[in-house]
């Protein structure tokens, strides 16, 4: 009887376990399928001309100033063929300035509407080319595809969090069930035992309590106290050594800027944005006009990037770009700076105390040290963090070990000549150039 009861609970437990595992597997499976997303619907041409050829031409020639469904430097070109006569379009695209010069009312109106910015002449495009481009501009926005992507993307995070909660809830219920089962089984067993007259409580032997035995054993006390002292010394040392060292410091920034995307997948040079690192003490936080160099035309990230941001990092990249627009007062519909500007309060990560002098230009331009030497794999960092400890020992170590790159470096030419004579021509480290002098950094 007892055996059967026990078997029963174990069997139940197995069943519950299998059920929960199956549940979680199926839910995770679902996640995987939804996050894949649907491919964009094929673009179809609606009128004569080859839209595919037109797309290539459009991207090569027109896309620097025109977008299909949104005003850019020039007007949105979707269904431009319905707004203008085909012949007029031919002459406008081939030489808009000439058309304006003839006093054509339509041409002058557009010229004035778009701040009198000159459209480049494209005499190299034939009428067939232009037909192809127009066929491309007549294609409808792939609405269905983009909305499904949006939908799935917005529902995925809530889905996964909901399913996680469900799994956790199920687990909690199962655990509670097990507890109740255990108690019930225990009680029934006891009742059976009492009914059958079996003695359940074993007689307690007279034993000394464990702590008393411990205190009486002096060796154990000694070993324990030595161990405790060592452990506390270890932790105290660690805590004291981390005072003022911010290695790994990764504050939340007002705009989520991904170095992984910009410096990693886009391969933008560090010095594109941090331009003053070349010639100044500071590496410089780029002013927002530098961001707008590209983000005037990039108002949204690609669907795949967007999805990645949501799934992997829980960040809506498009919203972050909107924050940039809000800070610069850029109206992306009007393509103008209209609103109030507001400074972005970036949180400073790397901060040396005033007692130490550090100069970026000295290291970047004269020393030709790669940014990554001190800042780590920035091109892989989704969130920027301090890679190096920035302690004095760390500086000194590098100054001792790094050989100066003297090849073709005019800055060191004279010093090299003099020093290599003095040191018998061996490779020079920064220490040889006085890089360990106190006054180099502390004055």
């Amino acid at each position: 009887m007892i055996n059967r009861k026990l078997h029963f609970s174990a069997w139940q437990f197995m069943l519950a376990f299998v059920f929960v595992t199956l549940c979680s597997i199926s839910v995770y499976g679902q996640d995987a399928t939804t996050s894949d997303g649907e491919p964009a619907a094929p673009v179809e041409a609606t009128s004569g001309g080859d839209a595919a050829l037109g797309e290539a031409l459009f991207k090569a020639n027109c896309a620097s100033c025109h977008k299909l469904y949104k005003k850019a430097v020039g007007p949105a070109l979707f269904q431009v063929s319905q707004r203008h006569d085909r012949e007029w379009l031919y002459s406008w695209i081939k030489n808009s300035a000439a058309l304006i010069a003839t006093g054509d009312a339509e041409a002058v109106a557009i010229y004035n509407e778009y701040n009198q910015s000159n459209m480049n002449a494209f005499p190299q495009l034939s009428n067939t080319d232009i037909d192809n481009i127009i066929a491309y501009t007549d294609t409808e926005k792939p609405v269905a595809a983009s909305t499904t992507v949006d939908k799935s993307s917005s529902s995925v995070p809530s889905d996964s969090s909901v399913s996680n909660n469900i799994i956790l809830g199920a687990l909690a219920v199962v655990l509670l069930l097990l507890v109740v089962l255990l108690i019930v089984v225990n009680k029934t067993l006891k009742r059976f035992a009492e009914a059958n007259g079996i003695q359940t409580e074993f007689e307690k032997e007279e034993r000394t309590p464990i702590w008393k035995a411990f205190v009486q054993n002096q060796f154990l006390v000694l070993v324990t106290s030595v161990f405790l002292l060592l452990a506390s010394a270890y932790f105290a040392y660690g805590a004291l050594m981390s005072v003022g060292v911010d290695q790994g410091y990764a504050p939340v920034q007002p705009i989520h800027y991904s170095h992984r995307i910009h410096a990693g997948s886009n391969q933008i040079d560090c010095k594109y944005c941090h331009s003053s690192a070349r010639e100044s003490k500071h590496s410089g936080i780029p002013s927002l006009n530098v961001c707008m160099n590209c983000h005037k035309s990039i108002g949204e990230v690609a669907d795949a990037t967007y999805q990645e941001g949501i799934d992997e990092y829980g960040i809506d990249y498009n919203k972050e770009i909107q924050k940039l627009y809000a800070a610069t007062g850029w109206d992306s519909d009007e393509q103008k700076f209209v609103g109030e500007e507001s400074p972005v309060r970036w949180v400073r990560i790397h901060n040396l105390p005033d007692l130490a002098y550090f100069n970026h230009a000295q290291h970047v331009t004269a020393g030709k040290i790669a940014c990554q030497t001190c800042h780590g794999p920035v091109e892989e960092m989704e969130v920027m963090y301090q890679y190096s400890p920035l302690t004095m020992g760390w500086c000194i170590n590098c100054h001792r070990e790094t050989n100066v790159d003297l090849q073709g470096n005019g800055y060191y030419e004279q010093i090299h000549k003099e020093l290599s004579e003095a040191r018998g021509g061996r490779q020079l480290t920064i220490a040889d150039l006085g890089g360990l002098e106190c006054g180099k950094c502390h004055y």
Partner: protein
């Protein structure tokens, strides 16, 4: 019974504790600074770069030069950001730097940082951002009628979707880039590059730049400073 319940509770509690930690993506990063011993040296008494300060408008320390003043190393540029200004710069503005190997090497390095990401290393409009279709429609240099003056003008003000690079480069650096763009254009068109002018000493070069600025300066009137692209958004 007492004992088994206790054991169970302990096990449950330890599972709880373990399950709380552990994010599979977490690196050893922290959003808080560690403790600082005598933080006075970290929070400077004097104003530091990018510091907030009540004496500045909007508490922003990074400000543009006061109106009517010229920051060190900066010279007014007397062509306006209009179609006429562009045409005039294209026709009249000449590169004051000699075509030396040093200038060209520097220009090439700077071009690699600021321009090649869209215009491509060869100037054919096939930079990394164009290839990944993030920025489109960047022309090849040989498809456009450009002069060194118009190159400089466009770097200074930007054109269409290209932004101004006046904030990131100095006058000298822009002219060095202009030399390199000119060399790339010749390559693309299949023309021979210019002959290098033998290296001149730094002093002579400085003198040449100064002559250029004097030429520029005498035609500058008061409103010229207003045309400078600002560095904080516009």
């Amino acid at each position: 019974m007492n004992r088994s319940v206790k054991t169970f509770l302990f096990a449950f509690a330890s599972i709880l504790v373990v399950s709380c930690g552990g994010d599979d993506k977490s690196t050893a990063t922290d959003s808080n600074r560690s403790v600082q011993y005598f933080p006075n040296m970290y929070e400077s008494v004097g104003y530091e770069t990018y510091q907030e300060g009540e004496v500045f408008p909007g508490n922003v320390e990074a400000q543009l030069p006061v109106e009517g003043t010229v920051s060190r190393g900066w010279m007014p540029y007397d062509y306006e950001d209009t179609n006429e200004g562009y045409a005039s710069a294209k026709a009249n503005l000449k590169n004051p730097l000699p075509y030396t190997e040093a200038n060209l090497t520097n220009g090439e390095a700077l071009f690699g940082i600021y321009c090649a990401i869209c215009h491509g290393k060869k100037g054919d409009g096939q930079g990394a951002l164009v290839k990944s279709e993030k920025i489109l429609g960047v022309p090849s240099y040989d498809a456009r009628d450009i002069s060194q003056g118009s190159i400089y003008h466009v770097m200074y003000y930007g054109i269409n979707y290209m932004g101004s690079y006046a904030a990131q480069t100095s006058i000298e650096e822009r002219w060095q880039i202009a030399h390199h763009v000119d060399a790339l254009t010749r390559d693309l068109k299949g023309q021979a590059r210019q002959e290098f002018i033998p290296e001149v000493s730094n002093k002579d070069e400085k003198a040449m730049m100064d002559v250029h600025h004097v030429e520029e300066a005498h035609s500058v009137d008061d409103h010229a400073t207003e045309n400078e692209p600002t560095t904080d958004g516009h």
